[in-house]
Symmetry: C2
Subunit: 246 residues, 2 copies
Amino acid sequence: MGGMATRTRRAERREEPLSRERIVETAVELLDAAGEGGLTFRALTERLATGPGAIYWHVANKSELLEAATDAVVAAALAVVPAEPAESPGSPGSPQDGIRTVALGLFDAIDAHPWLATQLSTQLSRAPGGSVTPRVLESIGRQVCALGVPEDGWFAAASVLVHYILGAAGQNAANAVHARVLGSGLDRAEFFGAVSKAWAELDPDEYPFTRAVAGQMYEHDDREQFLAGIALILAGITAVQPPAPA
Amino acid sequence: MGGMATRTRRAERREEPLSRERIVETAVELLDAAGEGGLTFRALTERLATGPGAIYWHVANKSELLEAATDAVVAAALAVVPAEPAESPGSPGSPQDGIRTVALGLFDAIDAHPWLATQLSTQLSRAPGGSVTPRVLESIGRQVCALGVPEDGWFAAASVLVHYILGAAGQNAANAVHARVLGSGLDRAEFFGAVSKAWAELDPDEYPFTRAVAGQMYEHDDREQFLAGIALILAGITAVQPPAPA
DNA sequence: ACCTGAACACCGTTCAAGT
DNA sequence: ACCTGAACACCGTTCAAGT
C-alpha cells in the first residue's frame, strides 16, 4: 500500500499505538536476543516506552504472552508447508516428503528461536485449550493420514513424531546456543570437544555406550542426523502397518 | 547399624547437621509437593530451619540444586533395571523387554515426579558435563546394543527412544497433574472432557485430524498408549537394520 | 569449617489516578 | 477505552559477622 509522500512516514516505528500484536512482536525480539530470561516486563516497558499497566491492558499475564509469542512463531513456520499433502496423483511430494518438510520446518524454527523448544514442550502438555497444540498436531497428523496409517494408529504415529521432532530440535538448538556463547571462531569444535572430553573421562565399565556414541553424536551434520531419526520412525510406521495395496 | 539404646535416637530427624544430601532430599520433597514453583530458598530455609547462607555453603546455586535433585531421582529410578540385558542365552528378557523396562521405569518416575520431565529435557540439552545425561543415555543405549543395531545406527535409535520417552511421559504426567488440580472424583473425565470440547469446537476444515484424534488420545490406558509408541519405534529399529542372523 | 540473617537487585502483578 | 507509574510481595544471591 504505497504512500505518496515519504514525509508522512517519518513517524516510522515510533508512536504507533500500543497493541497486542506489537507487544507480542517485541516479546519475540527479546526472546530471540536473550532467551527466556530476556523476556521481562521491565525490558518490555522500556522497549515499548510505556508502563507495565499498559501491557497488562492488552495481555493477561506473562504466560499468556509466552503462549502468544510461541503461537505466532510456530504459525509462521508451519505456513510454508502446504496444507494438502500430495494432492494430485502425479505430484512430486510423497507423504514421506511431507513429513520431512514439516519436521525440518519445525527444526529450523527451533534453531532460529531456541526458546521455542522449551515453550513448545510446555504448551503441548499444559494449556491444551491453546492454539499451538492443535496447530502442531494437525500439521503432522495430515501427513500421517496421507501415509495410509489406519485410524487406530494415528495417535501413536503422531506422538512419536512430535516428541522426537521437538526433543531432537531442542537439543540441536541448545547445542548451537552453547557453541555461540563459548566464543567465536571454532566455537562448535571447542564446545563439542569439551563434551567429548567430559564423557571420555567416564568410567569405561559403567558408561561404555555413552563413550562409544560420544563421537558419533557430533561428527555428522545436524540435519542429516535429525533426518536419520525421522527415517527410523517412518520405517516403524510402515512396518507396523504395511502400506496400503495399490 | 543397630544402636543399643533407643533413647540416643531421640534426636530423630531433628538437628542432624545440614548436609548437601539433606538439602537435595528436601528439595525433592518440595518439588513433589508443589512443582517447580515450590522449590524456593525461603521454603528450603524454613523447612531446614536455617538461613540461605547455610544452603549456599553446600550448594553453588539453584540450578545446581535442581540438577542434583534430578540426578538423585533418575538414579533411583534406573537402579531397578538390570545393567546387563539378557545376559545368559536362556534368560527370560529379550532386548525388547529391556527397552520396555527402562522406558516404563522413566515413565513411572516422571509420573511420580512431574517436574522431572521439564528438568530432564533441560539437562539433556544444557549441562552435558552433568551426570544425568550419561545416566539416561547409557541405560537405554545398552538395550539398543543388545538389540543388535550396528554401531552407526546407535545414535539415531537412542535419540528417538529418549526423546519419545521423555516427551510422552511428560505429557502424561502433566495431564495427571491437571486432572488432580481440577478436583477429586471424576477428575480425569472432567479434564479430558474439557479438552475434547475445546477441540471439538475447532474449525472442521482446518483441524480434521486433531478433531478425529481427540477421542483416541484419551480413551485408552496411558501405559498401553505409551507402549504402542515404543513398539512403533522398535519396529522401526529392526526394519532399518534387519535383525542379526542366528 | 560451617552457619546466621540483614541487605541487594530484580521479578511479576496490582491499582488508584490520570486522559 | 487506554495508559501512567508508584507500590507490593516475592525471588535468587551476597556477605560481613559470628561460632
